[in-house]
């Protein structure tokens, strides 16, 4: 097994053109076995990192790729089978790079190493930096050849940033791309399906397809509340128009989380990890294919859910009463998991191309799928707008942090869209403990420099939020309606008079940041890739800080929800919005009307809730009854805890 692992890692790093099939240790099933089983096994293995290190899993993606190739377009499960006899296609050998100095061949990630020179950018000149024996080659000669006052600018650029950004942006390897697409189905959380129905007034009916994704991520062993009682998940939603880059940014954020576990200076480890992710062993949104025709089609349908594997939320919150923080130090935190929801873009089904991957996937063979009719008219019979509204209200209700991704150069348009999105949902959930944090991400920002300098996030935030000459609801009917309704119901000092007030009504806090454009053609450079990488990193930190702040707010208001409670809340949220057009009362959804106490303090608080909540205030008899009952409870506790030594004094 050791040699197998070694060989495969070597294959990942240096791309030795050896067929991995030759070292398959797994006995494959006969052709009649349903391919679905293997997919499920892949998904199960992916949930369990311990098993993931076994040699079996190292080869499962290869099998899955075989399944995909052998599978006809007929979606019946039995028609997909594992074919062990089919030869694996050899990966295309990496194109060598030619040194502009000595003309020798070299590679980025294997000897002889070549590097681009920052002093020669943006021309694609490569120079051999080190030979196979580790000796310096023609690089010193190249540097000496430069003019003395320019030598300091001639520095070897690191290829790792280019590699990481390329891995995030698109997948050139068709095998890995197909594999990512096939495995992405396991990340589905919920979606709305519209089917024609002549009996319905709108001519169609809608169903909510709900997968057990949350349980698989947060309680894979299905222990109920035994192991997950002290786990408090935080939801972070990625929303935006179709093709805005939500999935790409989320992929980058998840990849950065993965990199927490390795030393970034260890290039081989980083590349191995990224390759593992690309092979489908770490679940993240599917990248775009290298096909430029595909650049505007949506990649996500419905809502997909991913769990962060980084060191997020590893710091104990100051007011948390939990004393066991040993789990959270230096390892991915199971206590405060970050869950990223990748939401279908606005108007996604309108933009859905005819040749999308959906027809290939058969939803019927998912064991954890529940199909529930959407009976509320505004969602079920509202066409695509109804679907978008359903997503907006559900995502707003459950998210702690909302990340809005846009590529629109007109910032005012973007702001209007996100505020419309929030205003359509804000009055549909109330009694919530904390408002949401909004992070606006401008993707592929080209004008990063106004005076030759990169714009800081603060400058960008100022540009987004405060540089509008007009009020944002002036040209938006939805916002105007919301503002008018709001102003009628509140005191004069609470009325929305300017944009700042509108922001504060809809969101607890708003942050803005941008991801620079990587560039096209000759503009692609390692320096540019590093800039993009740094912005991804900054965005991740921003998201982590926002999530931590929301958790802090929840902790201070006794509104933390552990996994069992969150399971119940999600069930309530889906059921409510599926059947009801009215607002969702979070007090009821979180069982605030009938909490389950865990200790004596909570039992007494529950007792106070019932006694003081049901009687008229200031009733002296009730106050005295409470005092007597609590004193008696303390006496009983003393008796029970000092059993046999019933002496108080």
């Amino acid at each position: 097994m050791f040699s197998t692992c070694t060989l495969l890692l070597a294959y990942n790093v240096v791309s030795i053109p050896t067929s991995p099939v030759s070292c398959l240790p797994l006995t494959l099933k006969p052709a009649s076995s349903p391919g679905l089983e293997s997919f499920t096994r892949v998904a199960e293995y992916l949930q369990n990192p311990q098993i993931a290190m076994s040699s079996h899993l190292l080869h499962l993606p290869t099998q899955a790729a075989g399944i995909l190739r052998s599978a006809p377009l007929d979606p019946t499960p039995t028609s997909r089978s594992i074919s062990s006899t089919e030869p694996e296609p050899k990966p295309e050998p990496e194109e060598p790079l030619i040194c502009s100095g000595c003309g020798e061949k070299g590679w980025m990630f294997r000897a002889p190493f070549v590097r681009q020179c920052s002093g020669c950018l943006p021309s694609n000149h490569y120079h051999i930096s080190r030979t196979r024996d580790g000796e310096e080659a023609c690089w010193p000669q190249h540097k000496q050849a430069a003019l003395p006052f320019q030598r300091e600018t001639h520095v070897q650029t690191s290829p790792i940033f280019q590699f990481l950004v390329d891995s995030v942006m698109s997948e050139k390897d068709p095998r890995k791309f197909a594999l990512s697409q096939s495995l992405e189905r396991f990340a589905r959380w919920f979606s709305v399906s519209r089917t024609p129905n002549t009996d319905s007034p709108s001519g169609e009916e809608a169903h909510l397809w709900l997968y057990d994704r949350f349980t698989r991520l947060c309680d894979p062993k299905k222990t109920g509340n035994r192991e997950t009682q002290n786990h408090f998940p935080t939801f972070i939603s990625f929303i935006g128009s179709t093709s805005a880059g939500k999935s790409t940014i989320l992929r980058a954020i998840l990849l950065l989380g993965l990199l927490d576990s390795v030393n970034f200076s260890d290039t081989a480890a980083v590349i191995n990890l990224v390759n593992e992710a690309r092979e489908g062993r770490k679940q993240m949104p599917v990248p775009r294919s290298a096909d430029t025709q595909d650049s505007s089609s949506p990649t996500t349908f419905g809502v997909h859910l991913y769990r962060d594997e980084g060191f997020s939320m590893s710091r104990p919150l100051p007011n948390r009463k939990t004393t066991d923080f040993t789990q959270t130090q230096g390892s991915p935190s199971p206590k405060y998991p970050l869950l990223f929801a990748d939401c279908e873009g606005f108007d996604a089904s309108v933009a859905r191309p005819s040749g999308s991957i959906l027809p290939f996937l058969n939803e019927n063979d998912d064991a954890g799928l529940r199909k529930l009719p959407i009976t509320a008219e505004c969602y079920g019979q509202g066409g695509q707008k109804g679907v978008d509204l359903f997503y907006a209200r559900v995502m707003y209700a459950i998210s702690d942090v909302v990340v809005y991704v846009t590529r629109d150069d007109n910032i005012m348009n973007s702001m209007q869209k996100i505020l419309e999105w929030a205003s359509s949902a804000v009055d549909k959930s109330y009694n919530q403990p904390a408002q949401k944090t909004l992070i606006i991400v401008k993707n592929k920002e080209r004008d990063i420099s106004q005076n030759g300098q990169s714009m800081s996030d603060e400058e960008f935030q100022d540009l987004c939020l405060h540089k509008h000459s007009a009020v944002l609801w002036k040209n938006s009917a939805v916002l105007r309606k919301f503002v008018e309704k709001h102003n009628k119901l509140v005191d004069p000092e609470e009325r929305i008079e300017d944009n700042r007030k509108l922001y504060s009504v809809l969101f607890h806090r708003i942050h803005c940041c941008y991801i620079p454009d990587r560039g096209v053609g000759p503009l692609i450079s390692p320096e540019r890739a590093e800039l993009v990488y740094r912005h991804f990193q900054r965005l991740r930190h921003r998201i982590q800080d926002a999530a931590e702040e929301e958790q802090f707010l929840r902790a201070t208001t006794f509104a933390e929800h552990n996994v069992p409670a969150m399971t119940h809340i999600l069930s309530e949220v889906f059921d409510h919005f599926r059947q009801n057009e009215g607002p969702l009362d979070f007090w009821l959804a979180t069982r605030g009307d009938n909490p389950t106490p865990q200790n004596m303090s909570e039992h007494i608080a529950n007792f106070l809730r019932m006694t003081l909540g049901q009687v008229q205030q200031g009733n002296r008899n009730v106050d005295q009854d409470i005092i007597t009952a609590v004193a008696m409870a303390f006496l009983v506790r003393v008796k029970r805890s000092h059993n046999g030594e019933f002496n108080f004094f």
Binding site: D491, A631, F634, V636
Partner: protein, 244 residues
């Protein structure tokens, strides 16, 4: 002892009640001819403004409810402490008197009778009102529920059935309903009987159960040996047969 061991429970409970459960009593009229709107916010920590039954129906304003100043909180603590000390003096053994357990039992009955007017109107399946320490498992005919420990402490052990307790009247509301509660034996784990289906072949399971009952030989119905009995198909029809 009170300040060291009990006060933290009360302080935490009070904070939790005020921040999480206390209800704002504010109400307003949104317009002429419109119904009164009540603030629905529970918990002072979550109260930023008055919110009605929809997030768009709100008004600015502070939490409106019973005031809980530090002085008032301290007053409550003093009262509970004094009450606790009085109870301790009543229960503390004096030579020639009953044992503390019996005195405590008598005091519990007396105290519950004293606060009956408040407690009898409330029902909870999450908090045992007899001890305020555990989730109650056993519901009496009147609707009040007790935890197993309170049943063991306050009810009378059955003379005829092992691990059973007779509850002549509800400890909380005082209603007379003779009720027997069977508790799990101390050494028992979770006992579940599952019965398969299989049509006429189900008779084999019936014979087996009958034989088990004979072998146990202590005149106990086999249903008493299990906490949960489940079955599929024919198995479901055998549950009542053996259980009666």
């Amino acid at each position: 002892m009170f300040d060291r061991e009990m006060l933290p429970f009360w302080s935490d409970a009070m904070d939790m009640y005020l921040l999480k459960y206390d209800r704002c009593l504010y109400h307003w009229f949104p317009g002429r001819g419109l119904d009164k709107v009540l603030c629905t916010i529970r918990g002072r920590a979550q109260h930023k403004m008055h919110i009605g039954d929809s997030a768009t129906r709100f008004q600015a304003g502070e939490f409106s409810g019973k005031s809980w100043t530090e002085v008032e909180k301290k007053g409550w603590i003093d009262k509970i402490r004094n009450c606790f000390v009085d109870m301790c003096h009543q229960v503390f053994p004096v030579e020639g008197q009953d044992s503390p357990d019996q005195l405590l039992l008598g005091l519990r009955y007396a105290t519950h009778a004293e606060v009956r007017a408040t407690l009898c109107r409330m029902h909870s399946n999450k908090t045992c009102f007899a001890c305020l320490q555990a989730v109650p498992d056993h519901v009496l005919p009147c609707g009040h529920a007790l935890c197993p420990t309170c049943i063991q402490e306050m009810a009378k052990p059955s003379r005829f059935v092992e691990c059973a307790f007779d509850v002549p009247s509800c400890v909380i509301c005082g209603k007379h309903n003779i009720h027997q509660i069977q508790l799990k034996p101390k050494c028992a784990g979770v006992r579940i009987l599952t019965l398969d289906g299989g049509g006429i072949r189900g008779i084999v399971e019936l014979a087996l159960l009958s034989r088990i009952q004979q072998e146990v030989g202590i005149e106990v119905n086999i249903r008493e040996l299990f906490d949960l009995v489940v079955g599929t198909s024919t198995g479901t029809s055998r549950i009542p047969i053996r259980a009666t």
